[in-house]
């Protein structure tokens, strides 16, 4: 046999991981990068690193968190080279402007109603990873935070979003649910 077992197992695992979280990984990278091809390159490099790590029998307990963390680090490295504005409100405003120029009316309304400017960079970072389907534990793995810290960030973000929601539309239903909290 010319193919070694470890390499083939690693290839299978990489393909499984690719099928599972490639879309969300590219989307997460595109939060920060304007260029689709750059996001694609970083995602590709992340999957190849995963393949190499598994080929060398490196133990990876949470593959999804691992791949997001590697992609995040690559993103930060690239950001240091290019010195872009990463994970701050200015970049988010840029993204929001880009989004608002689209013709998707419903989504535009949804996004414009939410007060993204009030969120801190870390709250936005946690929320973005959460939006890609990562659990709190995995979000903590990616950003190097504990679970309780992640939960705190997202909790604060939710409170801010909810507060603005209540400001915008005060209905009996919302007053009741807010009072219940």
């Amino acid at each position: 046999m010319t193919v070694f077992g470890t390499a083939n197992t690693a290839a299978w695992e990489t393909e499984e991981l690719f099928a599972e979280c490639r879309d969300s990984l590219v989307r997460y990278l595109r939060y920060h990068l304007d260029d689709l091809s750059e996001a694609e390159d970083i995602a590709q490099e992340s999957f190849i690193r995963f393949f190499r790590a598994r080929t060398q029998n490196e133990s990876i307990l949470q593959p999804r968190a691992w791949i997001f963390r590697v992609a995040h680090n690559l993103l930060v490295d690239q950001g240091r080279k290019k010195k872009p504005e990463l994970l701050d409100n200015a970049s988010w405003l840029k993204i929001e402007d880009r989004f608002l120029s689209k013709s998707n009316v419903d989504a535009k309304v949804q996004l414009s109603q939410l007060p993204w400017n009030r969120l801190s960079p870390m709250e936005m970072g946690c929320l973005r990873l959460r939006a890609e389907g990562l659990k709190f534990r995995e979000v903590g793995e990616v950003l190097g935070l504990s679970v309780s810290t992640v939960v705190s960030y997202i909790s604060r973000a939710v409170k801010k979003l909810r507060a603005s929601e209540n400001e915008g539309r005060e209905t009996p239903h919302h007053r009741r649910t807010t009072a219940a909290l």
Partner: protein, 532 residues
């Protein structure tokens, strides 16, 4: 008791809330309302974030996957000359040269050690040898004898050994013999009583007469097709009566163990080959014969058969033989229209079954929480998607369990303990491949059941007796297969149009208990594999 904080409500989203708080969550309507509202806000924010990124162009993901495949599976260059063969060829060429030049021949010393050879006249064959009919005696010319004797005079020899007599006898069929002694007489050790002939004969086995040699080939093994009902068991959505019969038949159809070490190693290699070629779901199994590895079994049609052949040959350096038959060619008694490859089966029956009302209620609540009108058509499609996901996971779970059972059922613990490292590694990788998939599919089924169904269906009461851990691979895989088949039967009854009544309180029929058993067997197999 106090109400839950936002952090605790968030933890409940991931199922990481402490047990006592989870109980409070179920009992307290205020906390439930808070949780629903929190989920709504979070869901809205996540949707907005996801929608903020524009969609990728069509075909971009496919191109990306192709690039990754090129990195993972670099194309092999079949014309490339392997480096290791150059060493082998060099050594072989050197040996050939040495043999041809006579360097390795013990009967002919190097030319530098025999200065007298230049003056030695050629030998002549004398067709006369007493006692050896037909043999030719080579005697040195008188000049040679004199030269030898002159050289020998300078050497101190025992009395009566003043004359060295070296005669060469060629046996029948031999090449012209080489002189055994022509060098320095001092190096010759001739016994005192051996003054006669030194015979050179080759120990050649007598050539057998034509037609007397026995043929070493064996007849190819007969292809025993799988029982008609066994592959049908791999399709979970069968009528229950058929299914029960299949369970019993499958439980009795135990594969024979491999007791021969060579067969064991090669059959493991065969399973590895099938898995590498990604045809492990087919009804194929490797057999070791005296002619090499044989892949036998049945497939659906000739297209699949050709695909299997190509995929396996692409992965193997030593091509195996194939004995793959089409199912339509089987005898009439073994034919069945239900035989098919174990893939995602498309569910076509009415979705929901006994738990239809519960599922519809769940999806209706979910729609209201998302401020969407619960249209009947939307709820029906949501219900169909839910049931299809459960069945899809269950089909994959069953196919992996069946493949694992066929594989582990042939493993002999003693053979595995004494197997070479490569075979052990292959075995471990194969088990890991299936166990990893089983872990995921079992988790997916549990997640889907616990998401929408009443607790009594998917939770485990814990009063059922644990089965004892055995040291036998076959026992573990058999237990795993039984639990999976029972789970499949239960899911068919719950979601399908079966008339079977599922008693959730019975350990044998509770999905929670069966899922727990499956987890237990997976854990045991995983532990044993890690200990190898």
């Amino acid at each position: 008791m106090r109400h839950l904080t936002t952090e605790e409500l968030l933890l409940h989203c991931d199922g990481a809330l402490a047990a006592e708080l989870a109980v409070h969550m179920e009992e307290c309507p205020a906390c439930r309302d808070s949780w629903l509202h929190l989920q709504t806000v979070l869901f809205e924010a996540e949707c907005a974030l996801r929608a903020s990124v524009s969609a990728e162009p069509d075909g971009h993901k496919i191109a990306s996957h192709r690039n990754l495949e090129l990195a993972l599976y670099p194309p092999k260059n079949h014309n490339e000359f392997p480096l290791r063969w150059s060493v082998v060829y060099s050594v072989a060429a050197a040996l050939t040269l040495m043999v041809l030049s006579g360097y390795l021949s013990t009967s002919q010393p190097p030319a530098a050690d025999m200065p007298q050879m230049a003056a030695v006249p050629p030998m002549t064959a004398v067709p006369q040898m007493a006692g050896v009919p037909g043999s030719a005696v080579l005697e040195a010319e008188p000049a040679l004898q004199e030269a030898v004797q002159e050289t020998a005079q300078g050497v101190q020899e025992p009395a009566g050994e003043s004359e060295i007599d070296v005669d060469l006898v060629a046996g029948p069929g031999l090449n012209p013999p080489q002189p055994a002694f022509v060098g320095d007489p001092a190096e010759i050790e001739t016994p005192a009583n051996e003054a006669e002939l030194v015979r050179f004969e080759l120990a050649v086995a007598p050539r057998p007469q034509a037609g007397s040699q026995q043929v070493a080939w064996i007849e190819p093994p007969s292809v025993s097709a799988a029982p008609a009902s066994v592959p049908a068991a791999l399709i979970p959505r069968l009528p229950l009566a058929t299914f029960r019969a299949v369970v019993e038949e499958l439980a009795q159809a135990e594969p024979a163990r491999l007791s021969d070490p060579l067969a064991f190693a090669n059959v493991i290699e065969g399973y590895w080959l099938l898995t590498q070629a990604r045809v492990w779901q087919e009804d194929l199994h490797p057999v070791w014969t005296s002619r090499g590895l044989l892949i036998e079994g049945t497939v659906e049609d000739s297209e699949v058969r050709e695909g299997v052949r190509v995929a396996v040959l692409r992965q193997s350096s030593e091509p195996p033989a194939f004995q793959i038959r089409l199912r339509e060619d089987l005898p009439a008694g073994q034919q069945t229209s239900r035989m098919a490859r174990v893939v995602h089966t498309v569910y076509r029956g009415p979705a929901g079954g006994a738990v239809r009302r519960s599922l519809l209620s769940h999806f209706s609540d979910a729609a209201r929480r998302s401020f969407v009108s619960p249209q009947p058509s939307v709820l029906e499609s949501e219900l169909g998607r839910y049931v299809s996901e459960v069945y899809s996971s269950q089909s994959e779970l069953l196919s992996h369990v069946y493949a694992l059972h066929r594989f582990l059922g042939r493993v002999d613990a003693d053979q595995l303990a004494s197997a070479d490292p490569q075979t052990t590694r292959r075995f471990r990788d194969l088990v890991r491949f299936h166990v990893r998939a089983l872990d995921e599919r079992e988790g997916a089924i549990y997640d889907r059941l616990s998401e929408a169904l009443p607790r009594k269906i998917w939770s485990r009461r814990g009063d059922a007796a644990e089965s004892n851990e055995t040291l036998d691979w076959r026992e573990e895989s058999h237990g795993l297969l039984q639990a999976t088949l029972n789970l499949d039967s239960n899911l068919t009854a719950l979601f399908g149009s079966s008339s079977m009544t599922v008693d959730a309180a019975s350990p044998e029929q509770s999905c929670g208990e069966l899922l727990h058993r499956i987890r237990t067997h997976i854990r045991r197999i995983k532990n044993r594999t890690q200990a190898l």
